[in-house]
């Protein structure tokens, strides 16, 4: 029988961080929550093995990412997200800067977005990203360079340029956060 307390402790210490990382990769909070929780369910089913992994958090992140990009799972997640939408109505409002960033991240291809998040948010090296994604290091470098180039106009260094460039309506916000 797998140890429930080990799993619970692992979940308590890592789940929120992983939701944050998945949210940056997908731009959809409900989808990130569902994918991460589904990954933990799968981890529990093979917990004696997963427990022994050198980097369990990376395993969950990889599984959750695959779930979130799987089109059929997405359909199921959308249904779940629809049921949960009312619960998210009372979540703290997202700032225009972050909405701009989400919009910018969504404009770049998924592999580039994943590389950007793994490098700049998770703090993985190029080789570590290559190991996690299964892509060669050269490809990861190219994805990072292209992703950064695409994001550059939208992610400026000074606080001044980070002020809202566009006025977002309630509808814009809802579309971006729920799409």
């Amino acid at each position: 029988m797998p140890r429930a307390d080990d799993f619970d402790e692992f979940y308590a210490t890592t789940s929120r961080r992983l939701v944050g990382q998945l949210f940056a990769m997908t731009g959809d909070l409900s989808e990130a929550e569902d994918a991460v929780q589904e990954a933990y369910i799968r981890a529990w089913r093979r917990w004696p093995r997963v427990q022994e992994y050198h980097d369990r958090e990376a395993w969950i992140r990889t599984v959750a990412y695959r779930i979130s990009v799987n089109a059929w799972s997405k359909a199921r997640n959308r249904l779940t997200a629809h049921h949960r939408a009312s619960r998210h109505a009372e979540q703290p409002e997202i700032s225009p800067d972050l909405l701009t960033l989400i919009g910018a991240l969504r404009k770049i291809p998924e592999p580039q977005r994943r590389a950007i998040v793994l490098h700049h948010l998770v703090g993985l090296s190029v080789d570590e990203i290559a190991a996690e994604t299964g892509a060669p290091s050269g490809t990861i470098k190219a994805r990072l360079a292209r992703g950064r180039k695409a994001l550059a106009p939208l992610v400026a260094d000074s606080d001044e340029t980070r002020s809202p460039r566009i006025q977002l309506t309630e509808h814009n916000r809802e579309t971006i956060t729920r799409a």
Binding site: A4, F7, D8, Y11, A12, S15, R16, R17, V19, G20, Q21, L22, F23, A24, L29, A32, E33, V36, Q37, Y40, I41, R42, W44, R45, N70, A71, W72, S73, A75, R76, R78, L79, R84, R87, H88, Q91, P92, I94, S95, D97, L98, L101, I102, I116, V117, H120, L121, R148, L151, A152, V155, A156, D157, R162
Partner: protein, 186 residues
């Protein structure tokens, strides 16, 4: 640029971490255990089905022959999971790759459920196969296999893309339970 990007991504992640509504770990463990139990049940059904199919094949080709079960089972299993040229063509036409069957299995449906779905679809007239509704699924054979939540999720998925056609193709290809299981596991 790098620091700014890092800072903004951290803010984004912090927002999500702080706003996330997550279930308690005990609920996820329960769900995982329940799913594993259900899958074991499905596999048991599948084994019974495969064993029965092997029995029928051997009896019909060798009436009266009494060969030991151990000697015939492996050969029949290996042959039964090989797709014929016709099956491969039908699945390919519907753009139904191994990965998609595996995805269906990974979405929580057991081989028995996929098989039942294909069987239920095959009973419908061709023009109705592309328009499966929740009501049809609920009223059909699947009612014995799927929970209400799974039926809703499945009907939702059917309306998302060309999955109805793909499932119809599964039925048309007359895949055996063993073939489905082999595809889903590959």
């Amino acid at each position: 640029m790098h620091d700014s990007l890092r800072t903004q991504l951290s803010e984004l992640a912090d927002y999500a971490s702080g706003s996330a509504r997550l279930d308690v770990p005990a609920a996820l463990r329960q769900q995982g255990t329940r799913r594993a139990r259900r899958q074991r049940g499905g596999l048991a059904l599948l084994s019974v089905g495969v064993a029965a199919a092997v029995g029928v094949t051997v009896t019909s080709t060798h009436p009266g022959a009494a060969r030991p079960a151990a000697s015939r089972a492996p050969a029949s299993s290996a042959a039964s999971v090989q797709l014929t040229a016709y099956q491969t063509t039908v699945l390919a036409k519907a753009d139904l790759t191994k990965a998609k069957v595996a995805a269906l299995a990974k979405a929580g449906f057991t081989a028995a459920q996929i098989s039942a779905l294909a069987a239920a679809t095959a009973r419908l007239p061709q023009q109705e196969q592309d328009a499966l509704t929740t009501a049809r699924i609920a009223a059909g054979y699947l009612a014995h296999y799927l929970t209400p939540a799974e039926r809703i999720a499945l009907s939702h998925e059917l309306h998302q893309g060309n999955m109805a056609q793909q499932i119809a193709a599964l039925a048309k290809a007359h895949l055996s339970a063993a073939q489905l299981a082999a595809l889903a596991a590959s």
